[in-house]
Symmetry: C2
Subunit: 251 residues, 2 copies
């Protein structure tokens, strides 16, 4: 028994060491371990990534298969999902991406029955909000931060009512100034949307993924354009950083 | 408070064990550290992934941009490249995917000037050979393992002549029996092609990535179909495993 405990300890230590080796320094610096609220991944679990173009990432939308590269596109969701499927091999997970470019919260609500509730996710990850600001800013949407909060709360209440045991992951919308689409004038207004998303994560006991903090750390290593050319859509490097941050926050 | 801390500790322990148990053990068991020959990634370095459908992975072929998700497709090359671009942020790497579905070695040679030499890669990763066997097996190609070896050696000689300082990464072709396309009768003949690829890696002082060994270890954790439904084209989990193996072998 003592041997067993000791072996378990050493095993855990070794595992932690190998885990640290693959966690980017940027992530370790941006996401203190004690802050995260872990999610449990059940056997035969369904995991769903929802959001806008950042989640969509050019996925095909005719078959929309689980655990399928073409149906995932080339974004953070693909990188995070491949890692989930690898780490939890043998647990028969079904991982879906149903992000759609341009979506704001009310557009998630319009398709929520088909693209979320019908899939009965055990884990639901949502990244939404940058278009709620951006489309208002460019005159294509008359929403406000108050509407974003009301719409988001309503969507999450509806989700919890239909799926009482769903484990929620709420991701922080982000914007990187000094890029082709984003300048410093975005920071203060986007912060208001970020605070709403974080408030939702507390109200609904969700795991919080602070992507803005991660990118704020990342720009010490390379210019904002390296992580997201337009300041909104992540580069391949940005996708890897987001996937690593998501996995560290969730697992 | 003590209850809370203890609960968090136990929760974190359980999650860490379940999350990290699978892959580090597979990779560690399949790729002993002392076996690998590290590659150096130079500043402004060009890294090229070459191969067949496993590398192609549905990439777009009109723009063929470096560091671009659509131009990478949804395979191991995308996952490996996102990690390279994140780890070497600030070094202005250009990472390309020029794999094309169905290719055999002679078809790489046909397009080598445009799709390899003109890009002047500092690091060139090649995964080729399964179609040299498969297309012969199904009667669509009259090649042999001797032709595979002669063609592969000629391609690598031509590459070294044009790019004397290129760092080569030669990947082991693989096949997983017990799947929709592959059965046990593949194992012995495919082994002959694998031995040629490994011989090439020694002759040309290349880093060797033993994917078959990795998948042989992986099928202890989940059925072969989980890692590659048809035994040749990796699933998302298989892509993550390949990327992790490639990175561990190369870096």
């Amino acid at each position: 028994m003592m041997n067993f405990s000791r072996r378990k300890f050493l095993q855990r230590t070794a595992v932690t060491a190998s885990a640290m080796a693959v966690i980017p320094e940027i992530i370790a610096a941006a996401l203190p371990a004690e802050k995260r609220q872990a999610v449990s991944i059940p056997k035969n679990g369904v995991i769903l990534f929802q959001g806008d173009s950042i989640t969509d990432a050019g996925r095909e939308k005719t078959k929309e298969l689980p655990n399928n590269g073409a149906s995932f596109g080339t974004g953070y969701a693909f990188v995070a999902a491949t890692s989930l499927l690898e780490r939890f091999a043998g647990q028969q997970l079904s991982v879906y991406n149903r992000g759609i470019s341009g979506n704001k919260v009310f557009q998630l609500a319009d398709r929520w029955q088909k693209d979320c509730l019908d899939l009965k996710p055990d884990v639901l990850s949502i990244l939404i909000g940058i278009n709620d600001y951006w489309h208002m800013r460019n005159g294509n949407y008359d929403g406000t931060v108050e509407i974003y909060e009301a719409d988001y709360r309503k969507l999450l209440q509806q989700t919890k009512a239909a799926l009482p045991n769903v484990q929620l992951v709420i991701c922080q919308p982000f914007a990187l100034p000094g890029t082709t689409a984003v300048d410093e004038s975005w920071v203060a207004p986007v912060k208001a949307y970020q605070e709403v998303a974080e408030k939702m994560s507390r109200e609904f006991n969700a795991t919080w993924v602070p992507f803005q903090r991660v990118f704020d750390e990342a720009i010490r290593r390379a210019p904002a354009k390296y992580w997201a050319a337009d300041g909104v859509h992540p580069s391949m490097a940005g996708c890897q950083l987001m996937a690593a941050a998501w996995l560290k926050a969730v697992l």
